[in-house]
């Protein structure tokens, strides 16, 4: 295992009477695949929001690649190489799939010439390759709003990947994807992540997915990590089985 790429240290955030983060800490090493599990309201999404700058912690700090990013905007953190997909996909719903992806590529390249129409985008080839990779080539010209939730989920991830992040947070990547396709989707994603040497942290509710694709699992409860370890250790942990997975011993 190589060096630590992200370190969240003792994050605290309280709003509206809820302790959304209560000493949340996590170290992520390069090329890890960390699954975050836990009941609803445990603060999993809040943790991602804190790490990516959408929320600012009241105390604690986040270090990415040796740089303190605690007070940076999502924009700045994204530019440093942290990507993110969302629980509810955040896309430009009235645009086509390719517009969504091309905009991401423009953002990455910083190419905004007002005289180059989107249709003649210099990175169009890369975009098609990416679409092909996630198996959505046929939907390229469709308007996102018309697509089913599962596809949007994938597009959301593809948009994040288009930015070529070093680390990606995925908030429930397989929710909305039918159970038969979950493994297929995760296989594809893992292939892309491996090919690009991208580190990933993902929130997941499906324990089969966790068992198969994570190499470390962090159990969230009350705004912090309650347990962490390998999938085997965690999934067999009696307390975790009861509180998180909902299976009594």
């Amino acid at each position: 295992m190589s060096g630590v790429i992200l370190e969240a240290d003792d994050l605290h955030l309280r709003f509206g009477g809820v302790q959304a983060a209560n000493g949340a800490s996590l170290k992520v090493a390069a090329n890890e695949r960390i699954a975050i599990i836990g009941p609803n309201g445990a603060g999993k999404t809040t943790f991602i929001n804190l790490c990516t700058g959408y929320l600012k912690p009241q105390s604690g700090r986040v270090v990415f690649n040796g740089q303190d990013v605690t007070r940076l905007s999502p924009r700045a953190i994204t530019r440093l190489g942290v990507g993110r997909s969302f629980q509810i996909p955040q896309l430009f719903l009235d645009n086509t799939v390719i517009d969504n992806l091309l905009l991401a590529l423009s953002a990455r390249e910083g190419s905004w010439s007002p005289f180059t129409p989107m249709l003649r985008h210099p990175k169009a080839e890369e975009m098609w390759a990416l679409l092909d990779l996630v198996g959505l080539k046929e939907t390229g010209n469709r308007i996102v709003r018309e697509l089913p939730e599962g596809m949007r989920k994938l597009i959301d991830i593809a948009v994040a990947l288009a930015l070529e992040p070093k680390l990606i947070f995925m908030d429930e990547p397989t929710s909305g994807v039918s159970s038969t396709e979950k493994f297929q989707v995760m296989d594809t994603l893992t292939r892309v992540l491996d090919a690009r040497a991208t580190t990933a942290v993902f929130v997941e509710h499906d324990m089969d997915v966790v068992a198969r694709y994570a190499n470390r699992v962090a159990v969230w409860a009350g705004g912090r990590i309650a347990h962490q370890g390998t999938p085997e250790e965690i999934l067999n942990h009696p307390e975790v089985r009861e509180t998180v997975i909902g299976v009594g011993v």
């Binding site: 999502p74 924009r75 994204t78 993110r84 430009f92 905009l103 005289f115 129409p117």
Partner: protein, 317 residues
Amino acid sequence: MARQLVFGAALIAALAVFPLFSPWSTVILTVALCEGLAALGIMVLLRAGQVSFGHGLFFSFSAYAVAFMAAAKVGHEALVLIPVGMAASGLLAAIVGLFVVRYRAIFFGMLNLAISMVFFSLLEKLFSITGGADGKRVPRPTFAGVEFGREQFELATFYVTLVLCILAALFVARYLLSPGGKALEAIKSNETRLEYLGVSPRKVLYGAYLLSGLLAGLGGAIIALVSGHVTPELAYWVRSGEFVFIAILGGIGGVAGPFLGALMFQIIRGYAAVYAPETWHAVLGVMLLVIIFFAPAGLYGIVAGKGGKAQREEGGR
């Protein structure tokens, strides 16, 4: 696309030959084009889901800049006054934009309104400088170095305006199709994702604001020359509202929309002024309601055969 090009070309051709047949229409058409420019600026902002109820600020700022320069005989030349007036508004937009791009929706509209009303009040109050509510005369400058008579000057200004409008429309059309234009639309559809692309929505909106200020400024500079008089009324909020009105009337689906809206606005106003001089506001108001409820994509939607629904129905989120 082809259909839109044909339509655009036909509109331009019709506009280009019109004043030759009916000299009195020159000024009205020029005024319509100027308002169309301001409405085009509004349309750019509407693409980002933002509405400014204060673009009279940029319209009037350049108009007054032109009035002051023309009166002081500084650059007493239309072809100098127009770009300088436009640049003055661009500069103002560059400053105002720094503040307003932090705001969205109704707050964006309100802040624009407030700033333009401050300017309006100043124009009215600083009587000794601005001539107060009565405004300032704009002496007719030379045109390309030539001292024209009224008719030639009006005609020349009209054609220059027409060319400038075409250039502006083409540029805006290109811009809206470019990634920058898509990023602008993204402010309306999902600003969070834009942030997570590493793009600053404020910067994107700032660019659009600057563009819209320049467009309104161009319109204002020309209107000052062609009507030979500027008044604070150019900065009043009702005037700013008219620009939004024109943009919606014409439709924001294509760059021809605002110009169509402006032409229609002038035609209705002209007719109403003859047949219903006391109720022309109401006639316009009814017209607007009809468009909103029965052809939401505006005149452009009707002409471009888009029927309209798809374009607008979705936006509200």
